[in-house]
């Protein structure tokens, strides 16, 4: 009798262990409902593409809320996802100590992705020579402008192909119509600095805010704000829905600097009534002797796919990531559903990426972004990026652009605070 009881108990324990050893569906965390819809369709597509037993659950949280939730999950080790679609700024939070994401370097190289993805973008989730994630978008920067307002002001893109000409034309436009040529945003500082061949961090991730070119770039932004060539939006940013409801809707915004996802996603979604009136053009170039090269684009932000180190399904996670990055349909769908242009170059041959965009008056926006991609600067990761972006965006940007604090002082203060936290 005792033997039977022991045998049954042992069987039950083994069964429970087996159940416990089988992980549930792969958990994927994203930051928006739009992304959740996309990734759910990718999971279905992956299942249909030879992985019928693959199971995954996609959870969408807010853009700022998901990183908070992820930080708690990683800190406590409870309920962390297998795969996370994370912004590069929040990725930097995890670079101070042991990185909680799987080192994908060998897998990326074995798959040849380091050559197929635009090379500059691979560094976005690379730190200490190790690649921890793959970027989802090119994040190429262009100047989005209102074609109707430009026509009204008799401006053509050729007239503003350098920042000097842009400033001169901007002064004339403001003098004649009271309008400002460019709506300003905190992101422009690093975008323009990168366009000039510099950055806010060096290759090792150390802040370089007090460099003369950084000070000069910020002073240039302040100067165009003073001349009213640049207009500070109501909430001092172009990333708020209120910007589209006020500045854009009231025809006060003539142009903005933005990444591919800004035009394809934000402008189209928040200003649908302006269909046909927007266009994209290369960024005006810097012609001064300090700026390196004559890049007509830059780079800013971007999200990528990373695998949590504590995941029990690293191979499954990598399988899904590789599929989403490499699969032609996955890349095309991401573009067609108005989100972003992939950084995976082999997908660029698809004719659907070369279609005329009705929202942009029939312009082939993806073609422009592809053409500019080789000029895009490399963005390096730094453990201090989240801290710096938070300080810059929330504490200093409005103060600097309103003239409450001098650009040099603001940059020195930020540099000092980052060093204090290092």
């Amino acid at each position: 009798m005792l033997g039977r009881i022991l045998a049954v108990s042992a069987t039950c324990v083994l069964l429970l262990c087996t159940l416990d050893a089988q992980p549930g569906p792969l958990q994927l965390w994203v930051t928006s409902a739009n992304d959740a819809k996309y990734y759910q369709s990718m999971v279905d597509l992956y299942r249909r593409s030879g992985h019928p037993k693959f199971q995954a659950e996609v959870h969408a949280y807010g853009h700022a809320e998901m990183p908070d939730k992820l930080a708690v999950a990683i800190k406590t080790g409870v309920n962390a996802p297998d795969v996370v679609h994370l912004d590069e700024i929040f990725f930097s939070l995890y670079l101070s100590g042991e990185v909680p994401f799987v080192d994908l370097t060998s897998r990326v190289r074995a798959a040849g992705l380091d050559k197929k993805i635009v090379p500059q973008r691979i560094h976005l989730f690379e730190y200490g020579g190790r690649v921890y994630g793959l970027p989802q978008s090119l994040s190429g920067i262009v100047l989005y402008y209102r074609d109707d307002l430009f026509s009204e002001a008799k401006i053509t893109p050729a007239q503003i192909d350098t920042w000097d000409k842009f400033r001169t034309v901007g002064r004339t436009v403001h003098a004649s119509s009271g309008r400002s040529l460019l709506s300003l945003d905190w992101s422009y500082f690093e975008i323009l600095l990168r366009q000039r061949g510099f950055d806010i961090f060096d290759n090792a991730g150390n802040p370089t805010l007090d460099s003369p070119v950084a000070v000069e770039t910020l002073e240039w932004l302040v100067a165009i704000a003073k001349e009213r060539v640049g207009l500070v939006p109501d909430r001092a940013t172009i990333f708020e829905p209120t910007f589209f409801a006020s500045d854009v809707a009231n025809n006060e915004t003539m142009a903005v600097i933005g990444a591919d996802w800004y035009g394809l996603d934000m402008i189209q979604n928040f200003a649908p009534s302006l269909k046909g009136r927007w266009r994209a053009m290369p960024l005006p170039v810097w012609t001064d002797p300090v700026s390196k090269g004559r890049a007509a684009t830059s780079s800013f932000a971007g999200e990528g796919l990373l695998v949590y180190k504590g995941s029990q399904r690293v191979d499954d996670a990598w399988g899904l990531i590789r599929f989403v990055i490499e699969n032609q349909e996955a890349n095309v769908q991401r573009y067609l559903h108005g989100n972003s242009l992939t950084a995976y170059q082999p997908a660029w041959s698809d004719p659907r990426l070369h279609r005329p965009e009705p929202y942009f008056g029939g312009q082939r926006v993806a073609e422009l972004l592809m053409k500019l991609a080789p000029q895009a600067p490399t963005v390096y990761a730094s453990p201090h990026k989240a801290h710096l972006v938070s300080l810059w965006r929330e504490k200093y940007w409005s103060a600097v652009i309103r003239g409450s604090i001098a650009p040099r002082t603001a940059l020195s203060e930020m540099q000092a605070e980052l060093k204090r936290g290092m």
Binding site: L93, Y94, R235, A245, S246, N250, S398, G421
Partner: protein, 303 residues
């Protein structure tokens, strides 16, 4: 007479009169221990560890507490919080008192409707209120600037201008709390016997003297309760500042409150242990602010 068949909770024998309530309190005590006491202890232990987001952390003792004393932003957040609490109390309490007196004197027939309206901001989730206030304060096209513009005043950037940020936060707190506190004061006012005022009038006291000598002393406990609520709210207010200022202290840190700095430190700089230390520094501060008020209430009760 107590019937013999009343069921007992913990044993077949009739419990002693003190054991039943103690037993009934047990679920609450267990919940409080699980969801309050243990996290409090765990949070304190966290504040003594290194700022490690992943992997093993090590004991650093009081290092984070010492670092706070040298952190100018922490001191600024502390100053801002105290100023914000003081401004909120200074604006909300007199306003609520005036509203309560006005309601009692002028609008008795409309009282139920007015009371409901006053209660509404207090019962609306703070996050919803904060989202509404984003629309109220939002730049040139916000509701507030539209109203002030109608009166000929120039637009104020209520959220971005460092001179206006604290005022915006106080306005938001006023809208949320004034009605609820006015309602509390109205209830207390209605509890004051009319005879007191009749006697005062017969004795020749002016309305102002009656207010100073009868109304205020009898409202003292409710006024102190309101002060405590507003001080606590200033220290723990999160959703309002989070939505209004994007989880930051706003331009030049003009609206940096302790709670937002704690949030920033934990979630924007990845320093959970430092944020925990900040939270524990607030405990003696809050005790120092609130204890005199509570002692005042109890001494008032004795007298």
């Amino acid at each position: 007479m107590r019937p013999a068949s009343i069921p007992t909770i913990f044993s077949a024998r009739a419990p002693s009169p003190n054991r039943v309530p103690t037993g009934l309190l047990l679920p609450f005590v267990l919940c409080a221990a699980s969801f309050w006491l243990f996290p409090v202890i765990d949070g304190f232990l966290l504040s003594l560890q290194s700022n490690t987001l992943y992997g093993p952390s090590h004991y650093v003792g009081l290092e984070h507490y010492r670092a706070l004393l040298k952190d100018p932003r922490f001191l600024l957040a502390l100053t801002n919080t105290i100023v914000y609490a003081a401004l909120t109390v200074a604006v909300v309490v007199p306003l609520a008192l005036a509203m309560a007196l006005l309601m009692r004197r002028c609008f008795p027939p409309a009282s139920p409707v007015v009371r409901f309206c006053l209660l509404l901001p207090g019962v609306t989730p703070p996050l919803v209120l904060a989202l509404l206030f984003v629309l109220v304060f939002s730049g040139r096209y916000g509701l507030l600037n539209s109203l002030t513009g109608f009166l000929g005043a120039p637009p104020v950037d209520w959220i971005q201008d460092p001179r206006a940020i604290k005022i915006s936060l106080v306005m938001q707190a006023t809208w949320r709390w004034a009605g609820f506190i006015a309602l509390c004061l109205l209830s207390a006012l209605e509890g004051i016997p009319r005879e007191y005022y009749d006697i005062a009038r017969a004795e020749g006291a002016s309305p102002l003297a009656a207010f100073r000598l009868i109304t205020l002393p009898l409202l003292r406990r409710v006024l102190l309760f309101a002060t405590v609520v507003l001080i606590l709210d200033a220290f723990v207010l999160f959703s309002g500042a989070y939505v209004l200022l994007g989880g930051s202290g706003g331009t030049s840190d003009a609206g940096l409150l302790l709670i937002t700095y704690m949030y920033q430190t934990a979630f924007r700089y990845g320093r959970f242990a430092s944020a925990a230390a900040m939270a524990y520094v607030c405990v003696p501060l809050l005790i120092a602010l609130i204890a005199p008020i509570l002692i005042g209430v109890s001494s008032g009760r004795r007298t």
